[in-house]
């Protein structure tokens, strides 16, 4: 999919996630989430207390999703991921105020909250422009695959400068994040990324080690 095709608005993503969550949340969880959405919608500050509670309130199992939510990538949503992102999509601010809020929630968040902030940028990216890029750079400095995978979504595909984006793709290979997770890979891959992958494959072969199937497949079509 191209970077343009990956684009999704706040309303669209909110609707898709709400529909996916409806059949899996029990009555108590769905009442809690509805209340939490209302609170965040009325007061952005409430997100700081509600976001960390999502896992214990809504559950943490895998979330079955239909075609549109996948956007050409694996169905990698969990219930808590989706519920956190839904809460973030309720934030009653935009532009600089939204950037500052997301920054605060990321900086003070645990790994799950940070992942949700990164994933919310799929939709909120259009409202903050490039201002959330420092969060992606932070995530890509970790070796935590939950964060690395979330950083190579549509926002990263659209906004990361080419050198950082190529390094991010290579980092996926090194940390075991499947390349199918990288949004807009075919659209954005360039000669330099192909060179980096080729060198990597050569290094592996010289060391008598297998070239990961993901890398072999990537090089095959280029």
């Amino acid at each position: 999919m191209t970077r343009e095709e990956l684009r999704v608005t706040r309303e669209e993503l909110r609707k898709e996630l709400t529909e996916a969550l409806a059949p899996v949340l029990d009555a108590e969880a769905s009442t809690w989430l509805a209340g939490a959405r209302e609170r965040v919608g009325g007061d952005a500050g409430a997100a700081a207390v509600l976001l960390p509670a999502v896992g214990r309130r809504c559950g943490r199992g895998p979330l079955p999703v239909r075609g549109t939510l996948r956007r050409g990538r694996p169905a990698s949503w969990t219930v808590d991921d989706a519920a956190r992102v839904v809460l973030l999509l309720e934030l009653p601010c935009t532009g600089e105020a939204l950037t500052a809020r997301l920054d605060d929630l990321y900086r003070h968040g645990d790994a799950h909250e940070r992942r949700a902030v990164l994933r919310s940028l799929d939709a909120l990216g259009a409202e903050v422009g490039g201002a959330a890029l420092p969060l992606l750079h932070d995530a890509l400095r970790t070796n935590d695959t939950r964060l690395v995978a979330a950083a190579v979504g549509p926002y990263g595909a659209a906004r990361l400068p080419a050198p950082a984006w190529r390094q991010a793709v290579l980092k996926c290979v090194f940390t075991g994040v499947p390349l199918s997770v990288v949004a807009g890979l075919d659209d954005r891959a360039d000669a330099e990324l192909t060179r980096m992958m080729t060198d990597y494959a050569r290094e592996r072969t010289a060391a008598g080690r297998d070239v990961p199937a993901d890398v072999a497949r990537f090089l095959e079509v280029r």
Binding site: R60, D110, D144, V148
Partner: protein, 284 residues
């Protein structure tokens, strides 16, 4: 033998330890926030440490099939440094995190007025955030420190069943048993407390409200001391069920009071990028 180590400082251990612990039966643990050997000089050092306890360390543990939780607090040693005191203002936000299952380690190191104040404030935080408490007892002047800790807990109004008093021995276990608080024992490779003495204490005081931990950190310690204690219990005639109570059900019951324990099987390392867990046969 399934094992839950209720007190171990994994930040200072290697991945080899995680592998050996998994082989020995460890499937869950709690890492209390404590001192790191080198005194910290700024709040920023604590932020990075706390972030690790709810970020990188649980990720590392999950790669080895172990569920990692933590406790958070300003420890008594560093409570004495005014540069570290603002850590208390950071705690409310961390105490809401999913992986945080208690306030700790709090308590006494040198029994200073600063330690008194920080201890009491953090007991109040535990009440506000509805969390149990892990109390460290001092290495020096332990008996007096334990009695004073029990007094402070009593004055706080916290229910004793939500408090564990840790690092106990033959001399300090009695008053804690009478108080209704949980009793914690750290089993070390040296003489502080060993597995055979632990077995003798279990014979005398029973297996209820008992928590056995390795307290392994950067000092001389052994992350498999929980397993060794289980083996010593069996050799002394305790049943498999007794061992399961002490090494699994007791810590689950104590920390379960937080409502935040996650005891399903972590996702395979290869699928961790998808989020946090793969539930196998357990309801969300």
């Amino acid at each position: 033998m399934r094992i839950f180590d209720p007190h171990i400082h994994m930040t200072s251990r290697t991945t080899d330890d995680y592998e050996r612990m998994y082989q020995a039966g460890v499937r869950a643990l709690v890492e209390p926030a404590f001192w790191l050997g080198q005194p910290r000089t700024s709040v920023g050092s604590f932020v990075d440490y706390f972030d690790g306890l709810v970020g990188w360390e649980p990720f590392r543990a999950a790669q080895f099939g172990i569920r990692h939780h933590c406790t958070m607090a300003l420890n008594p040693k560093e409570a004495n440094d005014p540069r570290c005191r603002p850590v208390l203002d950071l705690l409310p936000r961390y105490l809401e995190k999913d992986g945080v299952v208690a306030v700790g380690e709090v308590g006494y190191d040198s029994m200073t007025p600063e330690e008194d104040e920080v201890f009491a404030r953090q007991l109040a935080l535990a009440a506000e955030h509805d969390l149990p408490v892990l109390v460290h007892t001092p290495h020096r002047d332990k008996a007096a420190g334990t009695r004073r800790s029990l007094d402070v807990v009593r004055e706080s109004g916290l229910p004793p069943e939500r408090v564990v008093i840790d690092h106990l021995n033959e001399v300090t276990v009695g008053p804690v048993a009478d108080s209704g608080c949980w009793m914690g024992f750290s089993i070390y490779p040296d003489t502080k407390m060993d597995e055979d003495r632990m077995v003798a204490i279990l014979r005398e005081y029973g297996t209820e409200r008992m928590l056995v931990n390795s307290a392994a950190d950067w000092g001389r310690s052994d992350p498999l001391k929980t397993r060794r204690t289980g083996e010593a219990m069996l050799a002394a005639g305790f049943t498999d069920d007794d061992v399961d109570q002490v090494l699994w059900r007791n810590p689950v019951e104590f920390y379960g009071q937080s409502g935040r324990l996650v005891l399903d099987v972590p996702a395979d390392a290869g699928t961790l990028f998808e989020g946090n867990s793969v539930l196998r046969g357990t309801p969300a």
